[in-house]
């Protein structure tokens, strides 16, 4: 096990596997900003095997596993070695793909991982011009002073295995970009929505309403404001837990369609 100290190191390790020219499979799509933060906090490590690199990111209470490999066979051999020499604790791995039946998922399941949850990607392709405008004084832009309160909501209500809870710096960056909407009631933030806007693509990252304030259309108000802000985009997308049928129905109502894109969250409690 070695600590990763820079995003460059991740690229170099990826490059080394790729340049074996025997194939390339991965679940690691690193964002340089996030990797730099992991390096800053010393929470990213790698394990090198023939034709495979595992990256392990230490989260609160568990470790997130990423892989880069030349093939399923090489990954399987490395995984067996990796697990045999691994200390105890929960390992979480995301397996992504365009098919609901992924060989890599089966590979992990054959080695002690169990499906914890799954997500599907939903997309809407069109212009959002003409979306209903929201009442301007109920949805606010989050300020830097809201960071602590939002982080506390993450800690309390989000499932870290599934949701990839952001670091403080990531939240601050979204706030600085004006991409964090909050809904306040009774002196508190009771709902928030965080998004990325890149050119023609609007990406919903997080959408939350406090359990005590649900069924009051707060989520719908935040969502409409989100869509209004992306009215010049061509594509809007997000991941949703596949078992959340009510939410999926609601998204379909808004014109979203299920993409052929799956993310299985698997866990191994060693």
């Amino acid at each position: 096990m070695s600590k990763i100290n820079s995003y460059r190191e991740v690229l170099d390790l990826s490059c080394a596997v790729r340049n074996l020219r025997k194939g390339f499979i991965t679940n690691f799509y690193p964002d340089s900003f996030r990797v730099d933060l992991w390096c800053k906090y010393g929470s990213l490590f790698y394990y090198l095997y023939p034709e495979t690199v595992f990256f392990e990111q230490v989260e609160r209470g568990f470790r997130h596993l990423f892989y880069i490999s030349t093939s399923e066979q090489a990954l399987k051999e490395a995984l067996i070695d990796f697990l045999a020499g691994h200390e105890t604790g929960s390992l979480v791995v995301d397996v992504l793909g365009n098919d609901s039946d992924l060989p890599v998922k089966r590979l992990f399941e054959e080695n002690g991982f169990q499906e914890y949850s799954s997500l599907i990607r939903m997309t809407r392709i069109n212009s959002l011009v003409g979306e209903e405008k929201v009442i301007p004084d109920v949805v606010f832009q989050a300020g830097i002073g809201d960071v602590q309160e939002i982080l506390k909501l993450y800690d309390t209500y989000f499932d870290a295995y599934i949701e990839q809870i952001p670091l403080r710096e990531e939240l601050e960056r979204w706030i600085a970009s004006d991409h964090v909407l909050v809904y306040r009631a009774d002196g508190h933030i009771v709902g928030f929505l965080i998004y990325d806007l890149t050119g023609v693509t609007l990406y919903l990252r997080y959408w939350f309403v406090h359990p005590e304030y649900r069924d009051q259309k707060i989520g719908a108000i935040l969502f409409k404001e989100f869509m209004r802000r992306g009215e010049n985009t061509r594509r809007q997308l997000f991941w949703v837990i596949s078992s959340n049928e009510n939410a999926i129905k609601r998204y379909v109502h808004y014109g979203f369609a299920i993409e052929k894109m799956f993310d299985y969250v698997l866990i191994n409690t060693l």
């Binding site: 790729r18 799509y29 964002d31 050119g199 693509t201 985009t233």
Partner: protein
């Protein structure tokens, strides 16, 4: 080659017109997940193996850059 690259991009993200963009990355038409899939598709289509050091977002930002990448790796 240009037509083939456009076809691959269109199959990857059919919602976009890749002829009408100055920078696929900055305009949010491709993300890191798409790039990995695009590299695989280019490798298969052109019988190459794109060098790992070239798998950077900038190299996939326009059709000309993608073509340059394919040609560079064909020459290896």
């Amino acid at each position: 080659m240009r037509e083939k690259v456009i076809q691959i991009l269109s199959e990857l993200r059919p919602e976009f017109d890749f002829n009408d963009s100055l920078n696929f990355m900055e305009e949010g038409m491709l993300d890191s997940f798409d790039i990995i899939n695009l590299v695989t598709a280019l490798d298969q289509e052109f019988g190459i193996s794109i060098d790992g050091i070239d798998v950077l977002p900038d190299n996939f930002s326009t059709i000309d850059r993608i073509i340059g990448l394919v040609e560079k790796n064909r020459a290896v």
